[in-house]
Symmetry: D2
Subunit: 426 residues, 4 copies
């Protein structure tokens, strides 16, 4: 379907080579919108904890495309009748583009400004963009179809499954890639074996029963990566500061503060007036540049926060089994009395509030299930069969973390009551 005269390859540390055979895919990669993903890190601020984790969403998106391509190739080679061959290009495009709408430091900026990257992805795919032009050449309704796959509303669940499901190309790539770049080897999974075990069946992607242990291993890797990498308290600390910066800058902007540095499209961001063209100008280079410039602003809250973020003077934390509101109020009150700023100098974090998904076996929504196909062609949800998976399902660590600026607390120490001091191990 519009094949390239010669296959193109990208050298990739995770998949060795990424193979591009369709001219449409090649052209999509070369659009302005897709190239922008080079300036958005895959793991946000994690590079402040794991210095190797500087890889971009560009790399990840190519990886998701490549895994999807391999799955489809195998479906076609095996001649499985349940695979709708005509959906190949659509699936590949959706796989490649599924993260197109991510903003800089995605999770934090979304939380701070109530945005959603999936919405933005769909606005870019269907808006006035180079990507849209290329997709429209396939068919006028093709951009909408891509958008529907990404929104999980496309009417063939098997296509949606490949791009977003508990065992999709997205998750497989990020586990492998994040493990590779952080150097944490918990994410290493036997992707070849998993791919061999996938089968299109009755309009869905399922796993042959003999692949159960490989899936267990994949889910355990994910579990470990969440606790070791994605929820790492140092990363959380940097995300908290990031959100505080956004909050403060927005407050100041709304108050008419005369910023020393202000550049498009930051005003639109603060005014909630971003359109697609403005949104596409947002990248992590801009955010970092703004933060470095703002570290010289007169507003001391903003300049201090920016200094913390840029030079990695992060908040410290203490871990608590439980937290009650009274205690929090008391801390805030004492912080205020001691000359600290209770609005910014204390943040409470509970990891399960996090915007990452944890696999919940037994979920009734069939899109969120992993189904095993046994030799009698019976389907069973994996947690019915695997004790391991069942055991992970209910697990969460109920630890609260209190984040605070250690340097300021140390100065305020004499003004704090003994009970509060004890909490912070002073």
């Amino acid at each position: 379907m519009n094949p390239l005269s010669e296959e193109k390859v990208f050298k990739d540390p995770v998949h060795n080579y990424i193979h591009v055979q369709d001219s449409t895919i090649w052209r999509l990669i070369n659009t302005t919108e897709f190239q922008r993903l080079r300036r958005i890190r895959q793991l946000g601020t994690s590079y402040l904890t794991f210095h190797g984790a500087e890889h971009s969403r560009f790399s990840h998106s190519l990886g998701v495309y490549e895994i999807t391509r391999r799955i489809i190739s195998q479906f076609e080679r095996s001649g499985y009748p349940d695979w709708p061959k005509e959906e190949r290009l659509l699936t590949l495009c959706a796989a490649l583009l599924h993260d197109l709408g991510h903003g800089p430091f995605s999770h934090s900026i979304e939380e701070a400004f109530h945005m959603n990257h999936e919405d933005w992805t769909r606005r870019i795919v269907t808006g006035d963009t180079e990507v849209n032009d290329i997709l429209s050449e396939i068919a006028p309704d093709f951009p909408d179809k891509v958008s529907a796959v990404i929104a999980k509303t496309y009417d063939k669940p098997i296509v949606v499954n490949l791009v977003s499901s508990p065992l999709d190309a997205d998750r497989m790539d990020y586990l492998l890639r994040d493990a590779y770049y952080t150097g944490v080897n918990y994410g290493t999974i036997d992707i070849d074996r998993i791919l061999r075990m996938l089968r299109p069946y009755q309009g869905r992607v399922v796993v042959k029963e003999s692949g159960m242990h490989a899936v267990e291993d994949y889910l355990m890797s994910r579990y470990q990566m969440y606790w070791q990498v994605y929820f790492h308290p140092v990363t959380r600390s940097s995300e908290i500061i990031l959100r505080q910066i956004f909050r403060r800058a927005k407050e100041l902007y709304q108050d008419g503060y005369p910023f020393g540095f202000m550049v498009e499209p930051l005003p639109q961001l603060f005014e909630d007036k971003l359109d697609v063209q403005a949104y596409l100008k947002l990248d992590e280079a801009l955010i970092q540049t703004a933060f470095l410039q703002w570290s010289y602003e007169d507003d001391r809250i903003l300049s201090e926060l920016c200094t913390r973020f840029m030079h990695r003077k992060l908040y410290k934390y203490v871990e608590m089994d439980s937290v009650d509101l009274e205690m929090i109020d008391e801390i805030r009150r004492e912080f205020g009395q001691a000359g600290m700023n209770p609005e910014y100098d204390l943040e409470i974090d509970f990891p399960t509030d996090l915007p990452y998904d944890v696999f919940r076996p037994g979920d009734e929504s069939s899109q969120k299930q992993i189904l095993l196909l046994d030799r009698q062609e019976q389907l069973r949800e994996i947690s019915e069969v695997s004790d391991i998976v069942r055991s992970i399902s209910g697990i969460h660590r109920g630890k609260y973390h209190l984040y605070y600026p250690e340097d300021k607390l140390e100065k305020a120490i004499t003004d704090l009551s003994p009970s509060i001091s004890r909490i912070f191990k002073l």
Copy 2:
């Protein structure tokens, strides 16, 4: 010597863990100046060719420190009398800080503005900086000593050897790290074996003769990495555009052009008036932000170049065995007549002009030699012993590359003479 109460580690994909045992090293890593290296990529624009190569000089600097630490540990464990134990901390500091003065897209910016990162490293180390404060606590002349090691003028060559010589910690780390992040496996060397083979001897670091093959392999890896990665023509293309942007922006600035976007310390850069504080504000986030903003400037040359760089619409190239000035003049003339801009739309590149070093065995300067120590305690320069090394020494590929904007050339095609068209395979 001022040890930490508990060893600190960084998780690193290349060395697994980086171990910090001295409080001085720990504090240096946490300075503003060292943290800035997170925003300078190790391989400049190579990420446009190898999308995985997004790693920073921060990672590399930690790696150089770690290799140096391991070498010294081994020297100490083996009790070699020729190792001056009192130089341990100095050597570690110099290893950690040796790249501190790198600017954004280092090789290109140095060429465009006639700067030198080693000078800047020494200015930062000896200037009014956090790094200087910490080093000065060791001894008032300690910053100068670190600076001297980096300048290769320190009076103990063995210390200089570890940080800069043909077989130093710097080169060993970058080969391994660049191979890891690009995914190109040519750079894989048996570093454990090389480290085991190093010995301090008569005031220098030499290699035991039984390590000859390991050194051959290391030099071949370097040779391969140069041709496969560092001199890659696509990377060269992006570097050319980068330099053109710097050139154009400086011209415009000097002509009083009213930039839509201009921020500190760019004016100082254009006026050659950077001081240490201004220099430290330069990073790749700033350069990328400027370029993205400039892609909307009215000056068409600048906006086009910035668009090319940011959205990776790079120049194409043709390879030629030789190039003569007459031909170049003719091309430029025809380009001009066809409405192209001969100043910007043609660049000639010859890889051996590149600012990378290639090992030249037989070099008379003893600092640039690799010496083998045989069982009779005789020293021999490696190219006397190894045919392989001797054979690499004279090798260079004499291919010229002509870079040009393909889109513009295609439009101008009818205005070009057949002989010129043939050169560009039109």
Copy 3:
């Protein structure tokens, strides 16, 4: 303590280099008894399932020694007061020699002849052997001490812990090594991190609490390796045939059958009269040679079994949720009527009968516990803290396997009743 003039190294794919610093260790490796371990495979018949798994107990023993050496080095470097420095050499010797008594196809031969490799290890260590001579040079009671450590009766539990406990050097090496040689990546564990987390504490080896996830990952890897590799039904099939060969040969020998091939020390083996010198002549080369020769014997049962084993014509199997004795009796009866040999042509296997250990958290025996040390210097057994570990503990797969010769069953098919045929999916 009797150091070598220069450290010796072995190149090892798993640990990169194995470092020998003591002359005692070097001499032990070069004994006849230790070299014999080159002819005993680490994974017995697993090479018939995973063709790469041809590695020997020699390699594994070096690996266990190396891990132990690294742990002790770290204990010494950290200056932990709870590590008894004077036990270093003893611990290293016990680590190196702990598998010295393994026989050919160890688990099967032990089961067939009611032997125990640990007993043999101690008999070799304390008997008239080269190993004993070298150990005795350290101190007259040194061989007994080594023997006591291996028997887990040595009076310093911390020494025993390093060599045999749920998180010992033995298990860490075999997980890594078996994963490497089979190519199954489930066994990959972050050994550097685990080693960093170990601490001698109150006479035991414990794990710092921050290493909990690394221990979880290690236990999951073990769990996966058990089900994917060690209990693999094809390997079980070959072990069953192996035991049948031993059984048949012993029967024949006791009946005075005139073997075409019989060589020392097989008669002693069949007569239960092995002494240390005879035992040391047993290796896998001898067993394989006997089996190949016996494949030409007149006794058809023996020759068929040997042919099966040597040329990998293994038994097939069917999986059953449960098995009752009546059914088994019925199968045997019908097999007999159909001209098959019910004694040999049917074997029932239930994996949890297997001679491998699975970690059982909550075990009261403190030697079998993994203890976590938290910041308040409190010890807690890991299953109290980790949901994952608790969840694995009760897991076993209750599947029975019926093994049988497919070729013979296919010939007998018409003589079997429909209900029995159904069991074998005929």
Copy 4:
């Protein structure tokens, strides 16, 4: 062409999975003759130097098959017209079976008994064997065709090229596999890239010019593996002892010596009367068993040699730049006078006498060339283009090694003249 109903896979550490799609290949793997390769080590006695190198020719043969399969798949996917599709199965069979005739400790036994493994391979393929039965089912002349490919006389050079040429599947697999199992990383090559660069062209397999550096790297890896692994002097020492054992045993047999242990087919081996059935009984288990048993023989030369080999008490060596016959005669004379056995206690070795092939660029025989195909569809022999390759071509290390039993020499020391003592550094 007779495809399996479901693809079978073997887990392989080097290629991850080996895929079997044809029923013929599957059945060939399961023959007695092919299974015998499990008992022949790929690297002969190298396991005495590199303890990890215990891998078999069975593994290697599967690997050669798999690489060949991948090359052919790629040829077919790319639709290259120069690939003769009808030769697929023939090529795969020849790739799988090319080493079928290897005997135990192949290089040494061939030298000792003037045998040739390629001849044996062809005798097995065309003789009365299970392999021959299966091949004959394809076509009556199919076994002869397979034999012709292995003998390099088949009339389509492209088929021969894939199985034996300087850049064939055999060499690619053994470099990767031997590197993996020894742990020496010099053999690591980018096989995916090399495979991508191969092209069938005018009846041969050639390499696209852009793959030149990958080929250089492959040839350098080979060069390094030869010197680091295949020619390792400790391995040579064990090979020398092995040949001496064969020599002594044959002498004794011919003299009618009453061996305590003698078993089929050793008599046929000593009498040069091996037929195919007898040859197939030879394996390394048998040789090791014989050697262990012979270490108890009364003949002291044989028993000592066998003890040396089995318990790794190898000969030591000294390195000499040159050797003259007079000196050798003098050493032998003095050895004799000192009570040593000059026939066995001195061996001179010169590595380039070794039975391994080194790539010789510029070889006129076109089967031994590596040809590059440039963009103008011109073929050039690689050494014309690559300086590196040209430089390796003439390289050999002209060192002689004198091997001797150190223990005996030390006892004889007082009887040797000073000049001879000096040679052996006594």
